[in-house]
Symmetry: C2
């Protein structure tokens, strides 16, 4: 299988390289594409050294799959050329997620949706993947109608630069020097920033609306209502989510727990934490309990943002394709 990674030098692109090996994708050619300034960088893949090339309009010829790990504008720019080259574009950006012709896929939940693709398959938002992984098995017992989510999002959501910024700020504070935020709007060390993305007219942010918009598409439920509050916290790479949800018909708490316990890709634990979910593929779920206010259930879940929230999910989609 001939695979290109567009945005190969970033946190998600680098993780995609590792996931291709871990998930035993039979890669015959791997092309690493990035911006001009990263061209010439060298990475090792299964014993071979691969040089990063500048992504250009004709970079995709002969490829079977292009994994996208770039921002929306770059995805939009290159998508026509990827399609023209006849490759399938599995895109991690938000560019095509809500496009009707583009399947938006979490393999464990709606893997069969890959079938209707027209050359592009979208990888959902990271918090959306992790939240839905925790409750998709409950949704199969009885449709989830409503959710209230508060996220605790890692700095890796802003890529490698997000991770560097937290590390740098911690160091700067130890040296008692002033902090100048660059990646995040405010100091993130020892802080929580209650805004990710841009604020919309309804007061929610673009990041917050993704969980409802994408959740509806992934769960095939256009009436699903999700109210989300997205918060950046000083954690490296695992997102956590406090979730309350209601189902169409009442379930016992035992039914809810059993369904989650038997979910593929999920581990039921006493205390899911960023510490125990970092750099691995499983989403941890715990603190499952009846929520009287919601007339439903509450839980707490964690998952690695770079892996299941991005790279792992994209590489799993390749498996569902073939």
């Amino acid at each position: 299988m001939k695979i290109a990674i567009l945005g190969a030098t970033g946190a998600v692109g680098q993780q995609m390289m590792k996931c291709l090996i871990e998930q035993e994708i039979p890669v015959t050619t791997l092309k690493l594409l990035a911006s001009a300034k990263s061209a010439g960088k060298k990475y090792s893949f299964q014993g071979t050294e691969i040089y990063v090339e500048e992504a250009k309009e004709d970079s995709f010829e002969g490829m079977d799959i292009v994994l996208g790990a770039v921002e929306s504008d770059m995805s939009k720019k290159f998508a026509p050329f990827i399609q023209k080259a006849g490759a399938v574009f599995i895109d991690n950006s938000s560019a095509f997620r809500l496009d009707e012709k583009v399947p938006l896929v979490v393999p464990e939940i709606n893997g069969e949706d890959v079938k209707y693709h027209h050359g592009i398959i979208a990888n959902p938002n990271c918090s959306t993947i992790i939240a839905l992984m925790s409750i998709y098995a409950v949704d199969k017992l009885s449709k989830i109608t409503d959710m209230i989510a508060s996220t605790y999002q890692a700095v890796s959501g802003a890529g490698n630069n997000g991770i560097y910024e937290l590390e740098e700020q911690i160091q700067t504070l130890l040296e008692e020097k002033p902090i100048t935020p660059k990646v995040f709007s405010h100091q993130i060390a020892y802080n929580c920033i209650p805004k990710i993305g841009n604020t919309l007219e309804n007061g929610f942010t673009t990041e917050e609306m993704k969980m409802q918009d994408e959740g509806r598409k992934i769960l095939h439920n256009p009436n699903l209502k999700i109210s989300c509050t997205c918060i950046r916290v000083p954690v490296m790479r695992s997102h956590s989510i406090s979730l309350s949800f209601r189902t169409e018909k009442k379930l016992s708490i035992e039914e809810v727990i059993n369904a989650i316990q038997n979910s593929k890709g999920v581990r039921l634990v006493e205390l899911p934490m960023p510490l125990t979910t970092g750099d691995q593929d499983i989403v941890e779920v715990g603190r499952i309990r009846q929520d009287e206010v919601m007339d439903g259930y509450a839980l707490w879940c964690c998952g690695d943002q770079i892996r299941k929230g991005a790279a792992t999910n994209a590489v799993q989609i390749i498996k569902y394709l073939f």
Copy 2:
């Protein structure tokens, strides 16, 4: 006014000393009481050096007010002797909060409740104070019936040792040495711990039930339902809360915003953060918006846990007493 601080050497006790000066309480005598191992420590108060004395049964004679900043067991142990000495005990522990004879007071919300005291007045739980401060003015427009809260609680909630532990762990990780948690059950640096207090049969923790139990008493609404998820985050001393709530009658979002904007002790800002609320008395509220799932409103609030969440509130109660 003759005042004793029981637990004077802890984070809250030390803050109480500062608040007595800031709030211009006319202190004629200040007695600093703590455990035997802290006896002999020396603190400066308004130009005078005060030695810490070991708290004993007869330590409270002649005092008008005893501010309690110790754990519940110690509060319970000393309360009878404080009452016998004729002093009013303003207690920050959870020992007496739900006792019918004990007012549970946030001065801005139910200051008038101090009147029915029988020698003890309780200071509410820190997250409860901060959450209720953000919405008490809305409750006056129309009773709040339901709330869903997810907290982002600072390490100061575990006292000075919580702060030291986070600082130490950050240093230990920089030195690439192994971490041994002492105060918290797990590493808190770069982590979120989804359990504060002990787990009850209903799956909630003792800390999580406080918001409902204490909220009902403070807002004089025994039917108030609050579903809470309490999370410890690597932040020094400000608690943050993501809140969704519903009122008895519908209010416009403008009415909600106006009420909060005009609340005493509250500042409406675009982005409330631990960084902007640390070591000051005001609770910041922002991100106020309509919540369709809740059929109500959502917001984000932050406040200093040691100050308004504990010491400031206790010292404000003195003012309401006289």
